[in-house]
């Protein structure tokens, strides 16, 4: 029976090539967009080397400093705040302070190149899981003693040393000279925490003014002992914030921030009010899921419309099948098989197209150091949703048509 259903399904799909193409395009396009968006989100928020301990890592990405004149400053934290109130938290196993990456100039054979430089402490290398291609990280001692050492990524090593060993050699970046301590794989630009071309100790900054500046460009990374400690870290930070003493109390009145994941930080930025450190990740997740469902509803409605017209055309066939013993349930089954087949073909096209596009996007270099991969879990969810909509869009018109009186159906009448 299934063979007969499949035969007729293929025939029907081939008979109305244009409608079939539109349906297939709808299904595969939806899946491709879902795959691209989820790959981008995965790239920004998912566990990806060197940020593999996402289940027990939090960060401090932005702080809101409320000023006594009712204004506020929002952005990366000043160093003194992180050093005095975050580095001293008792619950985390490790805390690292690091700067935002800054675009700096480097000259190679007289040619100017733009590189991203990030200043970090020694703990940075203990929390993140960089796989060193050469050498190793700089240490807390290097940072304490302001040693001019650097970790560089593969692209920078290639730029300076053209495939030759880099460790022990010197690079000139931003007007300073650093001895290369290690080389790590390229980190995609989406990774706020770990991305850079060159990492150097905080203390090698051209001046130590950052230690006292009331505004700053620093972030913190906190590693919990266990995933279960994350809420305790969040709570401890909030308790600590209540007793922050400002170097200049005439200017600042309060600091608002939270120990959070990057996803939570983005969600708070989107949904949170000015004076709020609550967790809005659920809202952002809801928004993303809602958009995904809405996005998938469009091809589903399109499929329903196409299916209704496709099935209405087949009143006579329905009449014949009923006359020869098909029950309403059997007919619904037949149309469901047809729709599942259509959806699976669309899914296969979507799969191949997604693989191709993700590879093309990786190869294009459009997003620096990005290496997009297929998220099979999301693809399966997408395919399951497409199948659900495929079934739904086939069952409804099939059910309506199966209720058609066989005599009317044989006359070719529709509902």
């Amino acid at each position: 029976m299934l063979k007969n259903y499949l035969k007729i399904a293929i025939k029907v799909l081939l008979r109305r090539k244009f409608f079939t193409l539109i349906s297939l395009f709808g299904i595969s396009f939806t899946l491709v967009v879902l795959m691209l968006v989820s790959a981008l989100l995965d790239h920004a928020f998912g566990p990806l080397p060197p940020e593999v301990r996402t289940d027990r890592t939090l960060g401090i990405y932005t702080v809101r400093m409320l000023l006594t004149n009712n204004f506020e400053r929002t952005g990366p934290a000043p160093y003194w705040f992180l050093d005095r109130y975050v580095r001293t938290l008792a619950t985390p196993e490790r805390v690292s302070l690091y700067s935002t990456q800054r675009s700096v100039a480097a000259y190679v054979a007289g040619e100017k190149h733009s590189l991203f430089l990030k200043r970090t402490d020694g703990e940075f290398w203990n929390i993140l899981d960089f796989q060193f291609l050469e050498g190793g990280p700089f240490t807390a001692a290097d940072e304490r003693e302001a040693n001019f050492v650097a970790v560089i990524n593969q692209a920078t090593a290639e730029l300076f040393f053209k495939g030759q060993p880099a460790v022990g050699r010197t690079i000139a970046v931003d007007g300073q000279r650093f001895r290369v301590a290690g080389v790590v794989p390229n980190v995609p630009i989406f990774r706020v925490t770990s991305f850079a071309d060159v990492w150097v100790p905080l203390s090698t900054a051209k001046s130590n003014g950052y230690l006292r500046e009331s505004t700053g460009s620093f972030l913190a990374l906190l590693l919990a002992r266990h995933p279960g400690d994350l809420p305790k870290i969040k709570e401890e930070l909030q308790t600590t914030l209540a007793r922050v003493e400002f170097p200049d109390a005439r200017e600042y009145s309060r600091v608002i921030t939270a120990a959070e994941t990057l996803f939570e930080s983005v969600a708070r930025g989107l949904f949170g009010s000015d004076r709020d450190a609550r967790n809005y990740a659920g809202y952002l997740l809801g928004l993303l899921l809602g958009l995904a469902v809405l996005f998938m509803l469009l091809p589903a409605i399109n499929l329903i419309n196409l299916n209704v017209s496709r099935i209405l055309e087949r009143a006579s066939e329905i009449g014949v099948r009923k006359a020869f013993g098909a029950s309403s349930g059997t007919l619904v089954g037949q149309f469901v098989v047809e729709n599942v087949l259509l959806t699976l073909i669309g899914g296969a096209i979507g799969f191949v197209a997604s693989l191709f596009l993700l590879n093309a996007l990786t190869g294009s270099g459009l997003i620096q150091y990005a290496h997009f991969q297929m998220n099979y879990r999301i693809f399966l969810y997408g395919l399951a949703a497409a199948l659900f909509f495929g079934l739904f869009s086939g069952v409804y018109p099939a059910w309506k048509m199966s209720r058609l009186h066989p005599v009317d159906a044989l006359r070719g009448q529709s509902l």
Binding site: N4, I8, K11, V12, E317, A323, G325, P406, L410
Partner: protein, 221 residues
């Protein structure tokens, strides 16, 4: 085997009611060849649809082997149509997307049997109507007479007790019509298949064992 008692069929639309069949009493016995005759609109096809369990009477009752079909549900009616009845339509009603043999297999799809058995029976039915050379053709590649022979093969493949033919030769020339009739008579005589056939053609009517005449929805004989 099939009995209609005081059967009435009214078609209703929003504005009008049409009495298609009025107080019809008919007994179809096993092995009979009945011709249903009458002018257009006299209720012939309605009667055939009622006998074939494709339609339900507005009044009266239809009995099949002693059971009233009004009590049957969709699934039971589907099974009865599948096992007891074979339909032959004036306009063939073949599925153009399926090959000849796939069309003939349709009634067997709704029975439990292997693909091989299904194919064997379909080929045997096609042999019975002399179409073994066309099994993989599609309906659009056949003449009208050949298409009707495929329709007969489809109707007999499940070995039904009753064949219901609604003007089976109506769309064919006389030569092809005679071919189809000879197959029907042969099935009736040699395989004891009951045939109820709607026809306009008095010549074919004379050849049947019994004629049921209808006029304006009423039996006139």
């Amino acid at each position: 085997m099939i009995q209609l008692e005081e059967v009435e069929k009214v078609y209703r639309t929003d504005k009008i009611e049409t009495l298609a069949l009025s107080r019809c009493n008919l007994q179809v016995r096993e092995g009979e060849f009945i011709a249903v005759m009458g002018p257009s609109g006299s209720g012939k096809s309605t009667l055939l649809n009622l006998i074939g369990l494709l339609d339900e009477p507005t009044k009266g009752r239809i009995m099949l082997n002693g059971s009233a079909i009004a009590s049957f549900r969709d699934k039971q009616l589907a099974r009865l149509r599948n096992e007891y009845i074979g339909f032959i339509f004036q306009s063939f009603h073949l599925i153009n997307d399926l090959s000849v043999v796939d069309n003939v297999e349709i009634p067997l799809l709704y029975r439990r049997m292997s693909n091989g058995e299904r194919r064997r029976l379909a080929l045997a039915a096609l042999e019975r109507v002399g179409l073994t050379s066309r099994v993989h053709h599609f309906p659009s590649q056949l003449s009208g007479g050949q298409q009707q022979r495929v329709a007969i093969a489809r109707a007999i493949v499940g070995k039904p007790k009753v064949l219901l033919a609604d003007e089976p030769t109506g769309n064919l020339d006389s030569h092809m019509g005679d071919e189809i009739m000879s197959i029907l008579f042969d099935l009736n005589r040699n395989e004891n298949t009951t045939v109820v056939m709607v026809t306009h053609d008095p010549r074919l009517g004379e050849m049947a064992g019994r004629i049921v005449r209808l006029f304006d929805g009423r039996q006139v004989n």
